[in-house]
């Protein structure tokens, strides 16, 4: 039976995990993702899932155990955030290069130092080239729906996938989420049939073997191609999801974008705030729009640059700094995409919300005000701007 539940982002993730009923979950607690596996471990203790739960001693071990379980042929999951995610680092690359379809909820949180437990995208943005598929969610419903789709995407592409929500803003905020029947979820994700499980002792294989100058490059090239093939799979599975469950998901969401003259590009929960700003400004007759990036890896470069091509000016909002890069991560991707696609709207970068600093509707309205000026003058005075930081 489909039910509308008042639950938090973490509860929505845990509930989806319960319905996915993975064979193995290995995890270690970290704020603000702790609840996901804490709630899930209760499902295990209550016999509501068939999962083998491995309480490990660190996130490095959590990802290592998940990799082992996935290579053995099981449907394996873990969940983490921030420092824990950072501790998984070397194993993230191993999971993707071994082509293991691990599914991981991740709660976006800033990285130390200084110590901070609140939302920004520094953690997963740092791993944007680790070979994982990345889906960022605006709210709990998206997180629930995306996690279910993620299982199919990962197993079809043989690539690991992380589905993220903003720490506290989504992970601990209660929203109404429409949940599906267990059987509906099971029917949608289907059975996992690994091609070469390590536990198939009649067909022994070796994984993770050494690769020197003779084969490493070829294996990396084939991994790149696997990622190149992901986008049509995401769209196909999103199409099936829509047919079954009604809600439609693309690589990104366009909000009032088609006739817009200026627009903002944003990731995660701030899209909701930005939609409120768009609504206010549209009421004043301003032609403003929004593009919310959902799939950041692989990056839909052609599709996004096409969607932004007719704008006079576009502001790209980053919730991570990309400290030693020229611009912040999302801006870097989009400006590179626009340049190579021969599209040339004026583009400007805003860094906001680091360490959970609030961003308000009026902050976003001010960005649109800046864009209006850029559209008229054709000049970007400051390429990189900061919202909400005290001077």
């Amino acid at each position: 039976m489909r039910q509308k539940l008042a639950i938090t982002g973490n509860e929505a993730m845990a509930y989806a995990m319960k319905q996915i009923n993975p064979d193995v979950v290995a995890a270690y607690p970290i704020t603000p993702a702790t609840e996901i596996v804490q709630i899930f471990s209760q499902y295990v203790a209550d016999g509501e899932v068939d999962t083998e739960f491995v309480a490990v001693e660190s996130e490095h071990s959590a990802m290592s155990a998940t990799i082992g379980a996935s290579a053995a042929g099981s449907r394996a999951m873990t969940a983490t955030s921030s420092q824990g995610f950072a501790l998984m680092w070397e194993m993230l690359y191993i999971a993707s290069a071994l082509r293991l379809p691990i599914v991981m909820p991740e709660v976006n949180r800033s990285l130390s130092a200084p110590i901070n437990i609140h939302a920004d995208h520094s953690d997963t943005m740092g791993a944007r080239d680790s070979g994982w598929i990345q889906i960022y969610c605006e709210n709990s419903q998206e997180a629930y729906d995306s996690l279910i789709q993620a299982v199919r995407i990962a197993e079809k592409c043989l690539l690991p996938i992380m589905v993220t929500i903003d720490g506290f803003i989504i992970s601990h905020a209660m929203e109404v989420v429409e949940t599906f029947d267990n059987k509906e979820v099971q029917d949608f994700i289907g059975k996992y049939k690994p091609a070469h499980p390590l536990l198939d002792v009649k067909n022994p294989i070796t994984i993770g073997a050494i690769d020197f100058t003779d084969y490493y490059f070829e294996h990396k090239r084939s991994q790149i191609e696997a990622m190149n093939n992901v986008m049509p799979v995401i769209l196909k599975i999103a199409g099936e999801f829509q047919k079954t469950f009604g809600r439609n998901y693309g690589l990104f969401e366009k909000y009032m974008l088609d006739d817009a003259e200026t627009a903002i590009v944003v990731i995660g929960s701030t899209a909701g705030t930005a939609k409120a700003a768009v609504n206010n400004l549209r009421k004043q007759g301003k032609k403003v729009g929004l593009l919310k990036v959902r799939v950041f890896r692989p990056f839909p470069a052609k599709e996004i640059s096409e969607a932004l091509s007719k704008l006079k000016a576009v502001a790209i909002l980053d919730r991570s700094a990309g400290i030693n890069a020229y611009t912040a991560p999302l801006f870097t991707e989009i400006s590179s995409a626009l340049y190579t696609q021969g599209k040339n709207p004026k583009a400007v970068n805003y860094i906001y919300g680091l360490g959970g600093r609030d961003i308000f509707v009026k902050d976003i309205e001010n960005v649109y005000k800046d864009l209006e000026k850029i559209a008229i003058t054709g000049k970007v005075e400051n390429l990189i701007n900061y919202i909400g930081v005290r001077e």
Partner: protein, 116 residues
């Protein structure tokens, strides 16, 4: 690597997913013996067949025949010297490590039966 060898190697489209090797026991095909800079020289007359070398060898390079040491697989022995270290025979060990350079210089002057 010769051009002939290069032709035998697969391109990226031909390789199994994720670098998986789809058969067992392939370590045998990887000849690690040329990593060695000193080699174990086994003295059959001193050997007491305690098989400690066989137990400790990390590369399974001690060859046994009917439960007795029969030689050393120099195609896979990396020359770590553990066999010699663990050999309990006194006062002179039954396995001695000899630098490869010296071994080459001595070639033809000594008769070693340790080669497999």
């Amino acid at each position: 690597m010769s051009d002939k060898d290069k032709k035998r190697q697969e391109g990226w489209k031909q390789l199994p997913t994720g670098g998986t090797i789809l058969e067992g026991g392939t370590a045998k095909k990887y000849k690690t013996g040329d990593w060695r800079n000193s080699r174990p020289v086994w003295n059959k007359d001193k050997c007491i067949n305690c098989l400690r070398c066989w137990v400790y060898c990390p590369d399974s390079a001690i060859i046994l025949k009917e439960g007795k040491v029969a030689g050393i697989d120099l195609e896979h022995c990396k020359g770590c010297g553990i066999c010699s270290e663990e050999c309990p025979v006194k006062p002179e060990k039954a396995i001695k490590m000899v630098p490869e350079k010296q071994k080459t210089e001595d070639r033809g002057q000594k008769t070693e039966k340790s080669d497999s």
